[in-house]
Structure formats: C-alpha cells, structure tokens
C-alpha cells in the first residue's frame, strides 16, 4: 500500500516479473486492487495485493477486514523524493485500522526511490520518518506496534534485500533452515551460502556469517547469467522443458581464488555458495554433503505442506459451519 505514484506496482514488477527498472516508467497507474498469486513460480507462495493509491478506507465497498485478516505483512511504500507528510498520515490511518483487525501483521515501511538521494540525506530521511511515525503511534496510544523501515530503490539491489528480509520474517521454518545451512557450510569448507528464490532473487535463508551487499549482488547476477544461458541453450528441441530444472548446476571461477557454486535445491530454490579454490578441489565431498542437505530441506518442506494442507482443511470445515460475513467474493476483484 502507499500513496499514488509511490512505486508499488514498479516494485512488484521488478521483483517478481523480472522487469527492467527502466521499463517501469511506462507502467500505467493501477486503478483497481490487483491480487497476484505468485505461488506457482516462486517459493514465496503469498498473495500480493497491489492497491491503487487512491483507496479510501471509508468507502463501504472496500472490505478491508477480509483483506487484512489473512495478511502476514503489510508493506507501505513512501516516496522519499516527495513530501511525505501526507504519506505519514495515511500510514498512521492504515496501521491503526489494520492492527485492530489483525494484531499479528508485520508492518514494513519501504522508504522508496532513494537512488536520487545522497547518503546523508538518506539517513536523515529515514530517521525523520521513523521518528514521526512512532510519535504518531505513541500519540494514539499504540506503542506496541513495531514498524520496520527499509531504504529501497528499484535501480539497485536494495529492493531485493528489503524484500528478502520481509519474506524471511514470515517463514516459520527459518531457524531450521539457518541451522541446516550452518551445519552444511561448516562441514564443507564453504565461506558463505544463500538459499535463493530463483525467480525473484530474494534470499530465503543464509548462514550466520554477516551478509555483505556486494556478495549478495554478485549472487543475483550469477543467477541471472545462469537462467539466461539456460533459456538459450537449455530447452529441448521442441521448446519443452524449463530452463531451471532438477539438475541445474553452475560453477563460476573468479580470478581471486573464489568459486561461486550454484545448485538446485527445489523447484523454486537454489543454493548459491562461495567457496575458496583450495576447498573446491574436494568437490566430491561438497556434493555429498549437499545431497544430504537437499534431502533435509525436502523433509522440512514436506512437513510444511502437511501443516498447510491440514490448516486448509480445518478452515474449510469451519467455513461450512458459519455463513460468510457479507458474501464478498474470494476471487480476485
């Protein structure tokens, strides 16, 4: 959510539809609520609701209760190059309403379009917005609500990084995944490993060593290269098959004795690791460890699927018992 022309649809297109940031200039204004279900192509099987900026909460046809009840995270986009007072007012309104309906929502605020600001200005803006938003909430007596702020821009990797963090908060299995990654890298002599969602290039999990933006960007670029080359040469004769399949692997050797190693984990996820050249000589060992790791990941997600399925089943049973509140259609508007 966010004001008009703050950049919401651009973010969605750039992150999930691989649009080039320069092409987002040609996107038209969103004039209705757009619900995207990215579960088929991406691990992030969430529903992403892109709201037009002019939405009015007081409009009775807008059933925000239904929407917010099923929401895990609410991202509010503020245009940092514009005057953000109105945005802050709207933010306050949105947050209070959403909190009343569902107190478990994570509130994430993207301070967007920071590519045009200098570093000092960025920090200044973030500090200012942070302070004002929290003051507004304190005035309304809702100090319990926690807001997270991110500086983003579609012209570099900061939007992916911010989205990664948002998504990571929503994954329940995150500690397990991190643990698995830690065990894997310590036993294989790997320096750093990321579990990436291939389509959107956001990382779901990483090990406990600190994350460097540059290594993250390099991994994103590597995934781009691998997918692009696979699209050109990796499809079968008749065009069938996907570029990224069960046996996708890539090894890139750099001249500073680092090796980038990519291996497919699940249909949507890939493991990208940085290995030193000396350690990469024991590739057989790394491959065996990876095999065990992959099996473990599959088991983790199988448990998840079972839980999701049983939850859906439960909801269905409950729904059959009560009448639907106001007959609002579940299909996209």
């Amino acid at each position: 959510m966010g004001l008009r022309r703050s950049g919401k649809s651009s973010i969605q297109k750039v992150v999930f539809h691989k649009m080039s940031p320069n092409e987002t200039l040609f996107l038209e204004s969103t004039n209705k609520i757009c619900r995207e279900d990215v579960s088929n192509s991406s691990f992030v099987n969430f529903q992403i609701w892109d709201f037009p900026g002019q939405i009015d909460f007081f409009d009775p046809t807008f059933d925000y209760e239904m929407i917010f009840r099923g929401t895990g995270a609410l991202i509010f986009v503020i245009d940092s190059q514009d005057d953000y007072m109105e945005a802050l007012a709207r933010l306050h309104l949105t947050v209070t309403r959403a909190y009343k309906v569902n107190p478990d929502i994570n509130f994430e605020i993207f301070i967007h379009k920071v590519d045009g600001l200098s570093d000092d200005h960025k920090i200044e803006t973030q500090r200012d917005i942070h302070q004002r938003a929290n003051d507004d909430l304190a005035d309304a007596g809702l100090e319990k609500i926690h807001l997270s702020f991110y500086l983003t821009s579609i012209y570099d990797h900061s939007i992916f990084e911010a989205f990664s963090k948002v998504v990571q908060k929503l994954i329940l299995q995150l500690p397990t995944l991190e643990n698995l990654l830690n065990i894997f890298i310590s036993n294989s002599g790997i320096e750093k490993a990321f579990l990436f969602d291939v389509v959107s290039k956001i990382y779901i999990a990483t090990d406990s060593t600190p994350v460097d933006m540059q290594t993250y960007e390099l991994c994103c670029d590597m995934i781009d290269v691998v997918i692009d080359i696979s699209c050109i040469y990796g499809l079968k004769e008749d065009g069938a098959g996907t570029p990224y399949d069960k046996e996708s692997t890539a090894i890139i050797k750099l001249n500073n004795t680092t090796v980038l190693y990519l291996k497919e984990v699940t249909k949507f996820l890939a493991l990208v690791c940085f290995v030193r050249e000396e350690c990469f000589e024991r590739k057989g060992l790394i491959d065996y460890n990876f095999h065990c790791f992959r099996k473990a990941i599959h088991e983790v997600f199988e448990v998840r699927m079972k839980v999701v399925r049983s939850r859906k089943h439960q909801n269905q049973m409950q729904k059959n018992k009560r009448a639907t509140p106001n007959g609002t259609p579940r299909a996209p508007l």
Binding site: L218, V226, Y244, E247, L254, N255
Partner: protein, 461 residues
C-alpha cells in the same frame, strides 16, 4: 611571445597534424604553460598518417549530460571560441615536444601482451597507462602515453561518423570501454576527432576515429581535413539517429562522406547503423528500419553498404559491431575451419569464439540448427554484464560452467585474446573431459594468432 630558441610553432607542428591546430578550445588559449586540458591536445608525430599511432584521448564524462529519455537530444554546445579555421596558439608545453627533435621511437612500454586487470580492466581493450588513483578513472593524461605497436601489428582505420548526438561515442564506450548503457548519459559532445586504439585479437589494432558530429566539425572534415581523415579507411561506420528531424541534412552529410571515401579509399566497407531504435514503438521498428535501409542502399550506389538497426539498451548493438569486426579479421576462414575440426573432435553442439575484452563473437561453428538466431549477441551482452558486475568486487571471472538436464555450456579463457564457449547437448559427458580438450586445443589456436610463423591447422599436426 614565442621564445626565439624554439622552432617556429606552426611550421613545426603543422606538418604533424594540421587539423589539430585548429581544434577549438572553448576556454581560449592561455599561453604556453597551458592547463592540463591543453596538454591533452598535444599532437602526435605520426597522426597525419592514417593508421598511425595516435594518442588515446579517452572520453570526457561530464557530470550532467543531457537526458536521453527527455527526447530533447543533445544540446548543441556553444561553438568553439576561436572557430574552426582560426589558428590558435600551439598548445605545446614550454619545451618542444620530444618527437620533434629526435627521430627515435619512444621507448617501448614494459608489458604489451596481456591487458592489465583490475582498474585498468575497466578500460577493456583500450590499452593505456595506469590511471591516476583518483575518483575519476576515466580521464587520461597524454604525456605518458607513448607506446609503440609492434611493427607486425595490422592497423586498420575505422571511421565513426554521424550527426551530433546520434550516439557514436556512447556506442564506442559500451563496446570498447566497458560502460553500461546508463553511464553513457554522462558523456558530453565529442570535440573534433577522438582517436582510440583498440588492441583486438593480439595483432589487430583498430584505429577508431570518433568524429564529432556538430556542423562546424562536419564542414571541416569535408574541406580542410578531407585527405587526412578519409585516406586509407578500412571501414566507415555511419550512424543515423532514427528520431532525427533533419533527414535531408543527414543524407547530405552521408553523401559527402561517401564521395570523400570514393575518392580516397574506394575499397572501404560501409556500414550504416540506424541507432536509437528503442525510441520507436516496437511494432513499427521493422517497418521503419526497412524504409531507411532501402533509402540508404539507394543513396549509396555504386558503393555497397550494410545496414543494421541498433540500440544501446539491448543486444542489437553487439550484433552490429560483431559483424563489423568480423569483416576486419584477416584469417577468419582459417579460424572457422579450425573451430569446426575442434568441435567435431569433442562432439560439441556449438563452439563460439569471443574476443576477450569486448566479447564480440569472432567466429562460430554449429552442427545443427539452434532455435534462437539472436543468441550470439545475447550471450555477448549477458557475459559482458556479468563481467562488469564482477569488476565491482575487483575480480574478473575466469571460467564458467552451466549445466542443466539438457545441456552443458563451458566458457573459458582460450588464447591470450579470446574466450571460447563450448555447448554440449549430451550432459553425460563429464565436464573434466571437455575441459581437458579445451586446454589441449589452446596451443593450436595460439599458433593461429601469431602473425609471423606458418599457419598450422589441426590436421597438419
């Protein structure tokens, strides 16, 4: 006042580069001491000879270039203060330049073969001295640039002409100087002619003359500098801006160029690039390009011209420049024969040979029809972008292997000037086998690149 013990300025310098003297300096001359900008304009001894070693100017990034997306085109810079034709005071340093006095060649620099990595790698194929460690790595100092091409190097002169603002310097900087498309916004108008020497494939030197396109310069080229510029040209690349409103004038200049070429270098190959195609609606691009192509073909008679449509925002730029450079490689037939033998021995589906710095496809072999006809330029683009992002970490990639259940692709350093890409469609062949084959083939291809020495083919071994 000119010191009496020095040879008179115009006589001494004019014989080396007549047009240099008239090159405008917007800030006006400041006398003999000059500023660092003046030093950049020192004439070089052989620059009157075509194909001679010139001084690499580098590019002049300005902080606020005109925005291309705004569609207003390049703002015409205000004309040079002196105007063309006014002979300005020589921009020499207080002492006479060395080359005037001595007849010796300047000393050979230490390392010629391997292009330096690291920051200098950002320059790509343009070899130059290490840049001063400041925030603006793209400026160059002229006085330390005296390197000699080995006499066995083939120097080919490539003229890059077109109207002001049509995109010549942007194209050149993307292909040869590792700019990304967005960086070209910062480029300012080219003043007079910018020379650059691009070391290509070891013994091929492209002498690229990027001629500024403003009216005053263009007039100058056809009158006083005509012989100098148009003599001994191997390739003329003329750039048209597809959005230009002054088609008549464009064609007029183009025809004057053709006349000059007919007179001075009738064997030159002519390429016409219809640039900035991204500003045209996608469905109209083919139509508009075909129209232009027909017009140009008609106008170019009796000379033949090859037309390409290009844009710096996609891979069409690589396609055009690959074709241009392909024409300049002397032993391309031999390369292709050898590549074919190599590919058949290792059972590869496709083998591509790239030039190392620019990643233009020099030669290729394919054993069966591939689906994507634009794959060469796409691959060039992909790998070049990846190379650029690696350079942010002060590293560069050496080799790459990408696999899938349907294919395996290997990209590796091949000879000192090329990269090879091998695509196998049988993924059961272990990578080690292919890598060993590539390593063994290197020696043969290294021999091919040497100018002296007899050419061996794989079969003769």
């Amino acid at each position: 006042r000119w010191p009496p013990w020095l040879p008179p300025p115009f006589a001494a310098l004019r014989q080396f580069s007549p047009f240099r003297l008239q090159s405008p300096d917007r800030r006006g001359r400041r006398g003999l001491g000059g500023c660092s900008r003046d030093r950049l304009r020192q004439p070089s001894p052989e620059s009157r000879e075509p194909g001679a070693q010139g001084v690499s100017w580098g590019l002049h990034p300005k902080e606020e270039g005109p925005r291309r997306a705004a569609g207003s085109g390049k703002a015409e810079t205000s004309g040079p203060s002196g105007g063309i034709g006014s002979v300005c005071a020589p921009s020499s340093a207080p002492r006479t330049p060395r080359w005037v006095r001595t007849g010796r060649d300047p000393p050979r620099p230490a390392a010629l073969a391997q292009p330096p990595l690291g920051r200098d790698a950002a320059w790509g194929a343009e070899q130059g001295p290490p840049v001063p460690p400041r925030g603006r790595p793209r400026r160059r100092r002229a006085q330390s640039q005296r390197w000699v091409m080995p006499s066995t190097a083939m120097k080919k002169k490539v003229l890059l002409m077109g109207k002001s603002g049509s995109g010549k310097t942007s194209m050149r900087s993307i292909i040869f100087a590792n700019y990304i498309a967005r960086d070209t916004r910062r480029l300012g108008a080219t003043i007079d002619v910018e020379h650059s020497h691009v070391r290509f494939l070891g013994n091929l030197v492209l002498n690229l003359w990027d001629c500024g396109g403003q009216d005053t310069f263009m007039e100058n080229y056809f009158t006083s500098q005509r012989d100098n510029i148009f003599r001994n040209v191997e390739v003329l690349i003329y750039v048209f801006d597809v959005e230009s409103r002054e088609l008549e004038k464009d064609m007029h200049y183009y025809q004057s160029c053709l006349e000059a070429i007919l007179q001075n270098s009738p064997d030159a190959k002519i390429f016409c690039l219809v640039h900035k195609m991204d500003l045209v609606q996608e469905d109209q691009r083919d139509l508009i390009f075909k129209e232009r192509e027909e017009d140009l073909r008609r106008l170019s008679r009796p000379l033949e011209c090859a037309c390409f449509r290009t844009s710096i925002w996609d891979e069409t730029l690589y396609k055009a420049w690959s074709s241009i450079v392909y024409q300049l490689i002397p032993n391309v037939q031999q390369l292709e024969t050898n590549l074919r033998n190599f590919a058949q021995i290792i059972e590869a589906d496709e083998v591509l040979l790239f030039e190392r710095a620019t990643f233009l496809v020099i030669s290729h072999y394919q054993c069966k029809e591939q689906r994507d006809i634009h794959r060469f330029e796409k691959i060039s683009n992909i790998i070049k972008q990846f190379k650029l992002s690696c350079s942010k970490l002060a590293a560069s990639f050496q080799s790459m292997e990408v696999r899938n259940s349907n294919f395996a692709a290997f990209i590796d350093i091949f000879t000192s000037n090329t990269y090879v890409m091998v695509v196998m469609s049988d993924p059961s062949i272990p990578s080690a086998a292919t890598l060993i084959n590539i390593r063994n083939a290197r020696k043969h291809f290294e021999k091919l690149e040497r100018v002296d020495g007899p050419k061996h083919s794989l079969l003769m071994r």
